[in-house]
Amino acid sequence: MNKHTWYKTYRPYISPMDPCPPIRVKRYSTPPQLYVGFQPPGLEQFPALAALKAGTLWKCFYDPYYSMKEIKKGERE
């Protein structure tokens, strides 16, 4: 589904008095089902075996979650 991202970020307020090193950018998930509405006919499909592995037949709903740790290690497909 084009260049849309399934993750959004925001920058929380950072106090000079915070006890822990700040996490400046927080990330949250906004997965595909929030946007599609009633699924229209004729959407692109994965081949059968890839669909079994992905957990969905429909490419537009595929949104694998990786932890920041995994992303830093480059484990993202």
Binding site: S29, G55, D63
Partner: protein, 189 residues
């Protein structure tokens, strides 16, 4: 009636001996937003929902049991060979005292599963909105489990389960659209 297939919905592989992960995973077994709660919620609500969405609740409720089985397999693999000392080090001594290695329906903090986690309001929209919320909460739980886990094989299975929550949420949202019956009408409210 159900037909049981003696295999998992998705292969469960665990690459590291890490009983601590079992302590976290049990959240999806007997937690408020876990697979047991999901299965029992949908399979109970389906009796009093309009005919055209009964099948959806049956299918998704059934699939939740397949997910429950995957979580159980993960927990079992992570704990079956742990010594009492390893269970203790993993924070599972309380569980061990009560259950040995047996699985039990409680959450990651040891709180036993309760029917108060689920609801059947009898109002189709209220019930489906609860179901959508339950799927989003389960999806979030899988995200936090992936964040906690260092096991690439386990995370592969957790990512699959999270993807299924995405699809279930989508289908419940479509069920709401079907019950609204305004889907094909070009109407401005």
């Amino acid at each position: 009636m159900w037909v049981y297939e003696k295999k998992l919905q998705y292969p469960v592989r665990v690459s590291t001996c890490n009983p601590t992960l079992a302590k976290y995973l049990i959240e999806q077994y007997g937690g408020a937003d876990g697979e047991l709660a999901a299965a029992l919620r949908y399979l109970n609500q389906r009796y009093t929902i309009p005919d055209k969405v009964v099948g959806l609740l049956t299918d998704i409720g059934t699939e939740e049991f397949a997910h429950l089985e995957m979580i159980a397999t993960m927990v079992y693999k992570l704990t079956k060979d742990a010594t009492p000392d390893q269970m203790k080090a993993a924070g599972l001594s309380g569980h061990f005292a009560d259950h040995d290695k047996a699985l039990f329906y409680h959450n990651a903090a040891g709180v036993p599963w309760t029917a108060t986690y689920i609801q059947a309001k009898g109002d189709p929209i209220a019930d489906l909105y609860e179901d959508i919320a339950a799927e989003e909460k389960a999806r979030a739980t899988y995200q936090w489990l992936i964040d906690l886990s260092d096991d690439p094989d386990l995370n592969d299975g957790l990512r699959y389960l999270r993807e299924r929550e995405v699809i279930h949420s989508q289908r419940f949202r479509e069920a709401v659209e079907m019950l609204k019956e305004e889907r094909d009408r070009k109407k401005v409210f």
